[in-house]
Each structure stands twice: as C-alpha cells, then as structure tokens.
C-alpha cells in the first residue's frame, strides 16, 4: 500500500454464479483527490463501491482502502471513512440534530452538531423531522452524518440524484470544501457534467470492466473527437465542403465540420460566404465528458472495445 493512495484495487472480481458483475478491474485513488467512478446502470459501479465500503464480500482480487481490507478489517475502517449511500434514508421521526448526536455517540466522538449543520446549510432544519425534509435536505443530512467521524475518505454514491439544480450546486460546494480540507472523495454519479466539474480523476466502468481512466481532460482528449465548426446553413453546403476535403456530419439540422487546424475555420467561413447559400449561425464545439462517455459506452454495445482502451480493460 502506497502512502499516497487512499484506495488501491487490483484484479477485483465479483461473481454471482456465472455472471461477473466486476471482472478483474484495477485502479488507484490518490489521497486528497476527487475520484469519480462512472458507468451506465448495471455496469458494476455500485457493486465495486460496496466492496470498497466493506458492505459486500469480493470474489477475488486485492482491495486496500486506507491500507485496510474493507471486508475483514471493517471495524477499523468504518471509523476512518464516511459514506453517503445512494438515495439516502434515515429514521423518519428523528431530526438532523438528533441524528448527528446519535452518530457522534456511536462513533464516540465530540461532534459540533451545529457546525456540521451549518456546513451543509441545514441549520434552519435542525429540529425538523427527517420525513419532512426535501430530497436535497436529506442528501445534505447524509453528507453531515458522513462527516461526523471526521473521515479521511468519503464515499459519495450519487449524492445529487433527483436534486434540483440549486441543491446540486450546493452539494458540489460541500464536495469542493471537503477536497480543500485534504479529504479523498470517491464519487459515483450519473451526471457527467458533475464529474467533469468536480473530479481530479475519472474511471469509466462498463460491463464489469474499466474502459477509461484519467483526468477529465485526458479522457476527453484521448477518446473525444477533434474540435468542430457547427454551422446552421442550407444542406447543399455539406457537398461544397466535402468537395474541399472536409469531414462533414449532419447533426440535428446543422452541419458539423471537423477542424484539423485553426486555419480550417477560416477556409470554411470563406467557402460559406462565397457560396451564396443561406446560413444562420456558426460556432465551434469540442466534445464534453458526456459526449465521450456516450461514445465509449455506446461503442461497447456491439461488444467491441474502443481503439485506445487501456491495457487493463483488455485483460
């Protein structure tokens, strides 16, 4: 176990009979980083996270979380990690203040309940019962409870699912603050923009295998398409540009032309103006993490792997 890694996973396997939910994956989460674990439903994401949290026994491979085996050393691990499960629920008749005091008592720590509630902007709901809280307020309580024991590593399993944009951004701010405090964050999310905004490093899992790892920029540059010029113009323009050697795609009533260099943009605009064809607007566009994710996962639907798939995913 290296001291700079909070999570180390090597050839992790989880099988249910002949089904391999997690199929020999490897990854490392450096300490102090926000690590996002992405994948479509049924990809093996939740199974992996639950193995790391010590809630599920693995079939094979090696896992170290803060240097501990999460299944056999759960007693030591649980005081050092904080977990916000997906769709967080709590005892419906307890208030956030009572919940924090309960957790503080169970962890045998002196928690600043008012401070924790203030940190997640839940002070005005301190005495409201859980079953009266909104979805966002419940998730915030989940975050507060995950911090009661002052954890080194926080697992946030889809912490913003179902929240309105304002509540999502509020949770994002809490996550950024946790990172600033030097904590490691293991984040799973369905929102690719969230992962792109918050993550230092990302792993994408599909059908039990890791298909891409790296920083958001690295993944986009490795798997994304080149920059494109998007033009809303008459369709006939596509033939003119193709005749000049440009790669043109039709997308939702617009034309997308691949830019091999900055000079290409000027040539295309000149062609448009000189053609006499009608046009409305143009803009440049680069792939987002979501575009890359959809391309990677979509490409795998037919069973093939992306050309630049990392070696571990091919194992």
């Amino acid at each position: 176990m290296s001291t700079s890694a909070s999570v180390e996973v090597s050839k992790l396997l989880k099988a249910y009979g002949s089904l391999r939910a997690v199929d020999g994956i490897d990854f490392v989460v450096p300490t102090g980083e926000v690590f996002s674990f992405l994948g479509p439903n049924g990809a093996g994401k939740t199974t992996t996270v639950e193995i790391l949290e010590g809630l599920r026994r693995r079939t094979g491979g090696e896992v170290r979380v803060l240097g501990l085996d999460p299944w056999t050393q759960m007693d030591r691990l649980r005081t050092r990690i904080g977990v916000i499960p997906q769709d967080f629920h709590f005892f419906p008749k307890l208030t956030p203040l009572e919940a924090i005091r309960l957790y503080a008592g169970l962890f045998d720590v002196k928690a600043d309940a008012a401070g924790l509630l203030a940190r997640v902007e839940l002070t005005d709901k301190a005495d409201a019962r859980f079953d009266t809280l909104s979805g966002g307020q419940r998730q915030k309580l989940g975050v507060a409870l995950a911090l009661v024991n002052d954890p080194e590593l926080c697992f946030l399993d889809e912490p913003t699912t179902g929240l309105d944009p304002r509540a999502r951004r509020s949770i994002w701010e809490v996550i950024r603050n946790l990172r600033r405090e030097g904590r490691t964050i293991f984040l799973t999310t369905h929102y690719l923009d969230e992962a792109q905004q918050l993550s230092d490093r990302i792993a994408i899992i599909n059908q039990g295998r890791i298909i891409a790892t790296g920083s958001p920029d690295e993944i986009i540059s490795r798997y994304g398409r080149t920059e494109r010029l998007r033009v809303v113009a008459e369709p006939a323009l596509a033939d003119r540009l193709a005749a000049l050697g440009f790669t043109v795609e039709r997308d939702n009533g617009a034309l997308e032309v691949e830019l091999r260099s900055k000079a290409d943009a000027l040539r295309i605009l000149e062609t448009i103006v000189n053609s006499g064809l009608a046009w409305e607007s143009f803009s440049t566009r680069t792939d987002t993490l979501e575009d890359v994710f959809i391309r990677l996962v979509g490409r795998l639907e037919d069973g093939s792997l992306p050309a630049s798939t990392p070696p571990e995913a091919r194992a």
């Binding site: 010590g54 026994r57 649980r78 499960p85 629920h89 419906p92 008749k93 169970l106 962890f107």
Partner: protein, 366 residues
C-alpha cells in the same frame, strides 16, 4: 458488546418509536381501549343478577312473600313486582322487552297451607339461554326449599359456590393477563415486521452497519425497548383493571420474566418474518398470518378451556398461549409449578427464534 453504544442507540430508537402514532397506539393505547371495552362488558358477569318480573296474583299473602324472599335470597335474580292489573304477564313482558317473568297464582297461600299442588308460571326467552337457565334454576331452588320446609325436612348437603382459588374472581381478573399477553405479542410483532422489511428496503440496516454499532448491540437495544414497552403496558393494564374494574391482579415476581422473554420471543419472530420477505407488503401479510390466529387462539380474550378439543391442540402450538397461561398461573392462580413450565417453553422458543432471526437478518451482504 459495547453497552455505551446500546445506551446511545436506545433513546434514539425509543424517540422514533414514540413519535410514530401507529406504534404508540398499538403498543399502549389499543390494549387500554380493549380492557375498557371488554372490562365494561364483562366485568360484572360473575355477580350480575337476571331481571325477573313477578306478577303476584295472591295479593301479598305471607306465603307468597316468603317465597319471593327465598327467591331473592338466591342472589341470582333481581325481582321487580308488577301490579296484577297488568293482565297477561307474557304480553306485558313482550311489550316491555323483558326476558323473564314469574306468575304466583291466586290462592297460592291457601294451596300451600293445604298441601295442594300449586303451579308457578315461569316465562323465559329461549334466545337468552343463560338467563333462562339462571331464572329456572333460581325458581326451582326456591320451590325445592319451600317443599322441603313443608315436608319438615332439614338441609343436609349444602353446596357453597366459590370461584377458583377461594377468592371472588371475575372475568376482568382473567382478562388482564390475557391483554398483557396481547400487548407482549402485538407491539413487537407488528413493528418488527415493519421495521425489518422497510429498513431493509430503505437500506437503514446498511446505514447502521457503517457505524460502530454492531448487530448484537442493535438487537439488545431493540429487545430492551420492547421489554420496557411491555412492562409499561402491563402496568397500565393492571392499574386500569384494579382501579376501574376492581380486578384482583398484581404484577408478581413470577409474572415479570414473561415481560422479558415474551418480547424477546416476538421481536425475534417479527424480525424473522420481515427478514425472509422480499417487500414490506409481503412482510405485512406474513406478519398478519402469524399474529392474528395467535391473538385469538391463545386465550387472550376467551379462556382456552372453552375451545373444542381440536382448537385446544392448535392453541398449544402457539407461543402466546404459554405466555398468557404463565401470566394467569402467576397472577391469578398463584401456581409456581405451572409458571415454571410455561416459562421454560417461552424461554426455549425465545432463544431459538432469537438465534435464527439474528442469522437471517444481515447488516452486510456476501
């Protein structure tokens, strides 16, 4: 086992429970409602008198008055004498919705003095079977006494009617232990079936497993809570039984173990029912299938001795039967050997079910 964590979790669980109106109703309020209803209906059944309307056509003769006094002395009937002007007593009874009447014919005193057979007319309502029997028995008893006296005989065999235990017990005395058993069953069963299934659905067990609280500590705190609730409910039922209905029951030392092992048994059974169910809905069905027959067939509201033999056999396989039988043996009959046998049965069942339930419900998944 860390008792500090048990002590930390216990009040949180209690607070959540007490803030749930349904749980509070089922565990404390519902048994109180039942004792008030059943107590009001049946508490006087051991001493109540059947109303008897008497038409004395012998116009206050000494013999007829002596006979009525003898009838009154049986204590079985409450006599109301109506005027002979009412005419046909049967019609009068029907018009006034009365179920029992007696006509002392004119010339009753003279016939008695002359040793001439005289017929008393007794009207009863066949629909009120027990009341009819009481009236007929009382009139027959008074008539036999009069006949014996006229024959110059002396009472030799004199029965004396007492309740079991040589104390005057009424229905309420048997109802109180039954309802304590009801409370010991219902409160943990219904709430544990609900808790174990909905908490599983909402992943609350998983949530707790991420804290240092262990399964054993959670179970201990849960057991303690239901023991507390059962004891509180027993105190309420005994208090109401004594103060409102004059019940002759006390919470003896022999009864106390049932308030400990009983809740452990039914917490375990409820936990097991919820753990083996896939959804809260199916858990509720399984819980009801277990709870309702046990509620009615274990002697809660009616003595098992009134059941037909095959139903008695069924009662004997229900755990609650041994709780109620033991409570009765401890609180009504003061019969320690019977208490020990029932306690042994309940304890063995509690231990077995607690072990099985603890293995069936999991914090973590393999």
């Amino acid at each position: 086992m860390n008792l500090r964590r048990v002590a930390t979790y216990f009040p949180a669980f209690a607070r959540g429970y007490l803030r749930n109106p349904l749980g509070l109703f089922m565990s404390l309020i519902f048994p109180v409602i039942l004792i008030l209803i059943f107590g009001a209906v049946f508490s006087n059944s051991g001493t109540s008198q059947v109303p008897l309307t008497v038409e004395n056509l012998d116009h206050g003769s000494a013999a007829s008055i002596d006979f009525l006094q003898a009838l009154n002395a049986t204590g079985a009937v409450a006599i109301t004498v109506v005027s002979p002007d009412v005419g046909n007593l049967s019609t009068y009874l029907a018009h006034h919705s009365l179920s029992a009447g007696l006509v002392i014919p004119a010339g009753f005193a003279a016939d008695v003095a002359n040793r001439t057979p005289v017929h008393l007319l007794v009207f009863t309502n066949p629909a009120s079977g027990s009341e009819a029997g009481i009236v007929e028995g009382a009139v027959e008893g008074a008539a036999n006494g009069l006949n014996l006296h006229l024959a110059g005989g002396t009472d030799v065999v004199i029965p004396q009617f007492l309740n079991v235990g040589s104390t005057v017990y009424t229905y309420i005395d048997y109802l109180v232990p039954g309802l304590i058993g009801f409370s010991v069953l219902v409160s943990p069963m219904f709430s544990m079936v609900n808790i174990s299934s909905t908490w599983k659905r909402d992943k609350l067990f998983r949530q707790l497993s991420l804290t240092p609280l262990s399964r054993a500590e959670w179970l201990t705190a849960t057991f303690l809570w239901y023991v507390a609730i059962a004891t509180l409910s027993a105190g309420l039922l005994i208090g109401i039984g004594r103060l409102v209905f004059g019940a002759h029951v006390t919470l003896t030392l022999l009864a106390l173990p049932f308030l400990v092992v009983g809740p452990i048994l039914f917490v375990s059974l409820g936990l097991l029912a919820g753990s083996v169910s896939n959804t809260p809905e199916s858990a509720g069905v399984i819980g009801n299938i277990i709870t309702f027959p046990m509620m009615f067939l274990s002697g809660t509201f009616f003595p098992v001795s009134l059941f037909p033999p095959w139903l008695v056999t069924v009662a004997h396989v229900l755990p609650l039967y041994y709780v109620i039988d033991g409570l009765n043996a401890a609180m009504v009959f003061d019969n320690p050997p019977a208490v020990y046998i029932d306690l042994l049965v309940v304890s063995v069942l509690a231990v077995v079910l607690a072990v099985v339930a603890a293995r069936a419900f999991r914090w973590r998944e393999d």
